[in-house]
């Protein structure tokens, strides 16, 4: 049992932090958000850092790193409140690595390592976090397939070269690749609440390639990888949020003393620290459980999303509260942390949904090893 980071992992973290400190300050980030939430220069910088290929095998031109390294990187990226869709890219890469055949991997992974964006497009209206809520259909058309349906909140969907699209093929869920710009596709991009970018993707008899027939397994894997990365980013955001809040409490004066001297606020800060540390442990748990058999993996990731979701909501809300008026302005960083945490809570299933997953998967056993 070991929760230390290796030297390589610490170097990775430091590299991301250095880039963020130098190149992703509050003003640049705000300008990117105002311009729509995706900056091609930032994307190129991330690609040059090797981050797009972080988890892609070296054989396909990536860095070939694992779940713990992904956690390390995304924790640092979370702290930078990164708008660009590195997390969705890594989810798509994980899906292709585990569920696509060798040809598809060879076709896509090297390009993704070099910055070509591919993202999962799975959210449907009235889906309510359920992975099996899919009304998009696919029908065979010779060697290819034709897809029809509508997908929402596709991360940076209008900047992606292709989307991984779950669709019903003969009633069962399968996963397809659809290239943006193909006939029968249309995409409408928009900013999201935290300033990043998403899109509606409409498919009308659009041509798709089959990625895998067991779409349910691929989607479950995508969600679990996604939860682990969300947890890592969440820890990064919360770490920064708490630091901001502590600094504010020790700086801001009322009644002649720093407000950090008031016991009620001090105890709130202690509770925020608790929420953060519980989430941090669960983020490690998530990353270390990704490789376990599916039943264990899904139970672990559902538990993670519940704890991290609760932590995010508490830390975000209390950080705003403890900042008072300045906490609800756009001009100060803490509200952006809060919105980012809110958006992360709603991504890959919210807290209540995953509580249901935990309840459904509960056994007689107890504890981390159960």
């Amino acid at each position: 049992m070991d929760f230390d980071f290796s030297d390589e992992q610490m170097q990775l973290r430091d590299a991301v932090q250095r880039w963020a400190e130098r190149s992703y300050g509050f003003e640049r980030r705000r300008a990117i958000a105002a311009a729509g939430g995706f900056d091609t220069n930032v994307w190129r910088e991330l690609t040059e850092l090797g981050l797009t290929g972080l988890t892609i095998p070296t054989a396909h031109g990536g860095m070939g790193l694992g779940a713990v390294e992904a956690m390390v990187a995304h924790e640092a990226l979370g702290a930078s409140l990164l708008l660009e869709p590195l997390l969705p890219l890594h989810v798509a890469a994980a899906v292709l690595q585990h569920h696509a055949d060798a040809a598809a991997q060879a076709a896509w992974l090297p390009r993704m390592a070099e910055g070509t964006l591919v993202v999962l497009a799975h959210v449907e209206r009235h889906g309510h976090h359920r992975l099996d809520a899919c009304t998009t259909t696919a029908v065979a058309d010779g060697a290819t397939w034709r897809l029809s349906g509508r997908k929402h909140v596709v991360p940076a969907g209008d900047h992606a070269a292709a989307w991984l699209v779950p669709a019903r093929l003969d009633g069962a869920l399968a996963l397809f690749g659809v290239e943006r710009g193909a006939p029968g596709t249309s995409v409408t991009g928009y900013p999201t609440q935290d300033g990043s970018r998403a899109a509606e993707v409409v498919l009308d008899n659009a041509p798709g390639q089959l990625v895998c027939r067991d779409g349910a397994a691929a989607l479950a894997w995508a969600q679990d990888v996604g939860i682990a990365l969300v947890a890592a980013q969440a820890v990064g955001v919360m770490d920064r949020t708490l630091a901001l809040t502590l600094e504010y409490l020790n700086t801001r004066k009322q009644f002649g003393v720093p407000i950090g001297s008031f016991q009620a606020l001090r105890h709130r800060a202690a509770d925020m620290k608790m929420a953060l540390e519980l989430a941090r442990g669960m983020s490690m748990y998530a990353s270390l459980r990704l490789a376990t058999p599916e039943a264990q993996r899904r139970q672990a990731l559902a538990r993670t999303k519940v704890q991290v979701g609760q932590s995010m909501r508490f830390v975000g809300q209390q950080a705003v509260q403890l900042h008072g008026g300045i906490g609800v302005t756009d001009e100060y960083l803490v509200s952006h942390c809060f919105k980012r945490l809110t958006q992360l809570e709603l991504t890959f299933g919210d807290t209540l949904h995953h509580l249901g997953e935990v309840a459904a998967r509960m056994t007689d056993e107890a504890g981390v090893a159960a």
Binding site: V320, G324, S335, L346
Partner: protein
Amino acid sequence: MDLAFTPEERAFRDEVRAWIAAHLDPAVAAKVHAGLRLSKDDIQGWARTLGRQGWLAYRWPRAFGGPGWTPVQQHLFDEALAEAGAPPILPFGPVMVAPVIMAFGTPEQQQRFLPGIASGEVWWCQGYSEPGSGSDLASLRTRAERDGDHYIVNGQKTWTTLAQHADWIFCLVRTSTEGKPQTGISFLLIDMKSPGVTVRPIRLLDGEYEVNEVWFDNVRVPADNLIGEENKGWTYAKYLLSHERANIADVNRAKRELKRLKRLAQAEGRWDDARLRDQIAALEVDIVALEMLVLRVLAAETSGKPALDIAALLKIRGSEIQQRLAELMMHVAGPLALPYLEPALEGTWTEPYPGGDPALAPLAPRYFNLRKTTIYGGSNEVQRNIVAQTLLG
């Protein structure tokens, strides 16, 4: 002991409901029911409509042109406004500055200022908070120095709600630095068109411009605009605070929003989601319990007995419930709450909406925005201090 309204009260409610239905623009009501942003015209247009009927200043006594309603009638009117989807009545004029002018203003000041407030013609804002003084109001530093018939005002206010639309501002200003911080404060009315007044809207986390910074740079204010005595402003401000009543809980709006939450859950196909529904049910209980608290306060006021000393409880609970309502609505929408499309927040979206349903567009911004409710008007931490003071000394 009786929970029912009298026949007269029920008749009154029917009457005001009918009047509101006849006079409220359905397009504006639809925006309110959908939680969309309201324009200046939406708010002021409705205020003028109420003003023409004599109902904008509905809590005022007859002597000052109010309708002379009982506390229960005021509550029923407030409830009728809320359920009809009427735009909010901004409190700064009729609820905040007016009672101070009535209690401490000269007859000339009353004649000069009250009609414009009651008619909805004059838009007021409140100049209390400063960058260095939030909960600690007594530390304010904006100063007013006497210069013949005028005060020269210098300083900065902040969190000034909707000051960008305001004609007048009522300010707490420092006129003396002697004695305790509270003692050197005066209550001054300032015309926002005065030279030297600068307003900078502050963008809030939901993208809206709702509060402002206001600078005073050698602003000349006629001494006639001083309310009451110089250096007694703290007393008047406290009078105003003690004047806040049951409506601080905003329970009627909570009831409307609960209905909206239920409509949303149904429309989104989540009404039969037992987990979510339990959370709605728990909130329904919270709102009923809050309403009982409000009704007890109203009844005590009506029976002339000393009002229950629970205004701080109403503020705490009311604000928490507003936040929880917004939180649950956002969670009903789930990831579909994430698109941020400005025109959809204004209700001016005309194209096919890429975010599922434009009804979902305002949910997350409202959740963000309402974090303010536990901060402003005396943060909930300050309110708990007040409750504890009553309990423990």
